[in-house]
């Protein structure tokens, strides 16, 4: 593997200017003080109940995501470039999905192979020809970014369905402010706490056209969902109701919630529930999580669902590989943020290359997520590689492959002390009917194990606070 770029300092120990203060501070604070603070942070997280669930694990109903107390720093200029690229990318995503469920120019122009749309399990024929409020599908996007050298940020993944993690972005900052006020006094860190206001403003701007104050609710599958903490956290910060399917009902194509004062109309639903579970009349009839009739109300234009139904058609890894073309096609611009070079195993010459170079590549399932169903070539043994070789031959269209990127590392507090660990970054992009809003920062995820590239929380990855410096 290539040498990895460390966010703080180069191999010969030269510290990048943005990390100057932090680096000096780290070298003066005793290790046991750092450990002590980490324990405090853990205690606070546990106490507040900032937990998540890993499905299929025993007794894991509530696990803590490891929190690292060493912040990750992004300069103002780096952020400005990133934000522009993120906005461009989100705009293109929205145009693409509108087109896919509308005129399908992109298919006619031969930019995207038809089967990527029509055979995509996340494609919702129910949305064909439907106009969504304000023509926006992806109101809340989480775009995963990795970095390989001082000047290159790659987009690793587009999350256009229900990206999670924003509560950690906000809570990590709160904890850091509490534990290390002196560090903040030494830096000009752009605040992230405006996110809640931004999200509420975005959601309100999306209400179907009506005269009165829009009533916004967050729809959760309930307390057993892995991201339940986040759902309740957001409802709390926004000051809106956190509803479950059973709290809502539809009458004459209008959605109401059951309240102690009788039915109350709902205009905008930020749903943290997959398409499949939204409405047993439209999708899975066995689901009790959703609201019967919700889709009729949606189609009648009486309620806005965020993100819109069917956005999954744009966030799998096969479509990802076409994003640069999608940006060029709809916006007539060059992509500001590059993709990681990607081989599409559906294409025979790509497949051949991938099969010949498996030990060097990362192979991912097109619809996989959370670090599941992937092969990290350089870390895999022969048997694992053979398993993937067979999978690839059997169903090549189900896979993409990428070079094993030398993901940047960031100093992280681990057992042995402060050591470099690989990180990525998930900023959150909000698209309202009025404008696009991005708070400076995002969720930095960190692979806590030495050398590991897997940062997903379901795989033991941790998080750290992300600082965007003001000027």
């Amino acid at each position: 593997m290539r040498r990895t770029f460390d966010e703080m300092s180069s191999d010969d120990g030269v510290v990048r200017p943005a990390y100057d203060t932090l680096s000096k501070w780290l070298s003066t604070v005793p290790h046991d003080v750092l450990n002590q603070r980490r324990k405090e942070a853990e205690y606070i997280f546990r106490r507040i109940g900032i937990t998540f669930a890993v499905y299929g694990e025993q007794n894991s109903q509530e696990r803590l995501i490891p929190f690292d107390i060493v912040p990750r720093i992004i300069t103002h200029d780096e952020w400005t470039g990133l934000a522009k690229g993120l906005e461009q990318r989100t705009k293109a995503l929205n145009l693409y999905i509108n087109d896919v469920y509308g005129k399908r120019d992109v298919l006619r122009a031969g930019i995207i192979p038809e089967d990527l749309v029509y055979q995509n399990p996340a494609f919702r024929p129910e949305m064909n020809g439907q106009k969504v409020p304000h023509d926006i599908y992806v109101h809340i996007a989480g775009i995963d970014i990795v970095r390989t050298d001082p000047s290159t940020f790659y987009v690793l993944e587009d999350n256009a369905r229900t990206p999670s993690g924003v509560s950690y972005m906000l809570e990590n900052r709160e904890i850091m402010l509490r534990l290390f006020p002196e560090l903040f006094s030494m830096h000009k860190v752009a605040p992230v706490d405006k996110y809640a206001d931004d999200l509420l403003a975005t959601l309100r701007s999306l209400a179907p056209h009506r005269s009165h104050e829009p009533n916004v609710a967050i729809l959760t599958p309930g307390i057993y969902n892995s991201a339940y903490y986040e759902h309740s956290f957001l409802a709390d910060k926004l000051g809106v109701d956190l509803v479950e399917g059973r709290d809502l009902f539809v009458k004459d194509n209008v959605v109401y919630m059951r309240t102690t004062e009788g039915p109350k109309r709902v205009d905008v639903i930020y749903r943290r529930l997959d398409d499949d579970f939204l409405d047993p009349l439209a999708f899975r009839p066995d689901s009790v999580l959703g609201v019967p009739g919700l889709m009729s109300a949606y189609h009648a234009g009486n309620v806005t669902l965020t993100n819109a139904v069917g956005t999954g058609v744009a966030d799998d890894k096969a479509v990802y590989s076409y994003m640069p073309d999608i940006i060029r096609f709809y916006l007539g611009e060059e992509p500001i943020l590059p993709n990681v070079p990607t081989w599409r195993c559906r294409e025979p010459d790509h497949l051949k290359y991938v099969l010949d170079h498996l030990p060097e590549l990362v192979v991912k399932e097109v619809h996989g997520s959370g670090g599941y169903g992937m092969l990290v070539g350089p870390k895999a043994d022969k048997a694992q590689i053979e398993v993937f070789r067979n999978k690839l031959k059997h169903d090549p269209a189900n896979f993409i492959a990428q070079p094993t990127l030398a993901l940047s590392t960031c100093p992280t507090l681990v057992e042995e002390g402060v050591a470099p660990r690989h990180v990525d970054l998930r900023p959150f992009i909000l698209t309202g009917s009025d404008k696009v809003r991005i708070v400076p920062g995002g969720l930095t995820r960190v692979a806590m194990k030495e050398g590991s590239l897997v940062v997903n929380s379901s795989q033991g990855g941790g998080t750290k606070d992300t600082w965007v410096l003001d000027v």
Binding site: I48, G49, G222, D241, V243, D247, R258, T260
Partner: protein
């Protein structure tokens, strides 16, 4: 607010109140069991704890006759048993589950109190507590519930969420006080013992202690502990926070506050007011005229009817 939210808050406070009451019941049983035999050390105080808690059927099915209930069996059943829906562990568990699903409607102090209690509870072993451990455990439960009540009282906005919380507390508290009184009257005293005798006295005093009212009793009556005075204090005295009269005064007020905010009265308000009027107009002589047990049984059903009415009117 969402009906489900109101429902969760209402049951959250009921479960917290119930956990507190169970701890008090165990406390009394423990205290009674320390008495020398001449004071009735051989009475069935552990069995009566099960009766007071209102879960005798399940207990008998699992452990056999109440008369032969052992301390270990009763403690583990009331404190920790996962199969007993009304064990302290389950009450705390359910309170916390309810709290978790309506976190947004609670203050962070309240969440912290209940979540902290839940975390701490898990540090206690499941069974076979030593006497010291049991004492420590009961103190922990009482402290946790006090803390939760305090957090609620000190940090909640005075709006419908608060009133539903208070309603839950007082419906449950009224039920618990009534049960504690009823069990004393009918179960504790062995037949050969004299009403008003030393054992009787000691048992009534324990009941007062269980609701932290022994000192209050002396302040109010300036007399030795007598059954009808205890009954007067716990049923009719509005100054006594656990009395039925006090619970209903609070219930009526909370329900009226809800009705005021929503601009609509209903059966819950009418039922609460009717019961309150009865508690205000009765003297303790009237109560004993009816028969204490009959009076209390009637009260418990009225209280249940109120619970059903609240559910019907607001929580579904």
């Amino acid at each position: 607010m969402l009906s489900r939210t109101a429902d969760n808050i209402y049951w959250l406070t009921r479960y917290v109140e119930r956990a507190d009451c169970l701890a008090r019941i165990l406390d009394v049983a423990q205290r009674l069991s320390y008495q020398p035999v001449s004071y009735g050390g051989s009475t069935n105080e552990w069995g009566s704890a099960i009766l007071t808690a209102g879960c005798s059927e399940l207990f008998v099915a699992k452990h056999g006759a109440l008369e032969e209930a052992t301390e270990d069996a009763v403690v583990s059943f009331l404190a920790f048993d996962a199969e007993n829906p009304a064990s302290i562990r389950n009450c705390v568990e359910m309170a916390r589950t309810n709290a978790r699903s309506v976190r947004t409607a609670l203050t962070s102090d309240m969440w912290d109190a209940i979540n902290g209690a839940w975390i701490e509870l898990r540090a206690f072993p499941d069974k076979a507590l030593s006497r010291e451990e049991l004492t420590r455990f009961l103190a922990f439960v009482k402290e946790a519930t006090l803390r939760f009540d305090g957090a609620m009282y000190r940090s909640m906005l005075r709006n419908d969420a608060y009133w539903f919380a208070r309603t839950g507390t007082h419906v449950e508290r009224a039920d618990n006080t009534a049960r504690i009184l009823d069990v004393k009257y009918h179960v504790l005293l062995p037949e050969k013992e004299r009403v008003g005798g030393p054992l009787d006295y000691f048992q009534w005093a324990s009941i007062l202690r269980s609701v932290s009212a022994l000192t209050a009793f002396h302040w109010v009556y300036r007399d030795s502990v007598k059954p009808w005075l205890v009954a007067d204090l716990l049923i009719l005295n509005r100054a006594m926070p656990r009395s039925l009269a006090s619970c209903y005064e609070n219930l009526t007020r909370s329900l009226d506050d809800i009705a005021g905010a929503y601009g609509r009265q209903g059966p819950a308000q009418r039922l609460a007011r009717a019961t309150q009027a009865k508690l205000t107009n009765h003297s303790i002589d009237d109560v004993f005229q009816t028969g204490l047990h009959e009076f209390i049984s009637e009260f418990i059903s009225e209280n249940n009817r109120l619970g059903a009415a609240i559910n019907e009117q607001y929580l579904t």
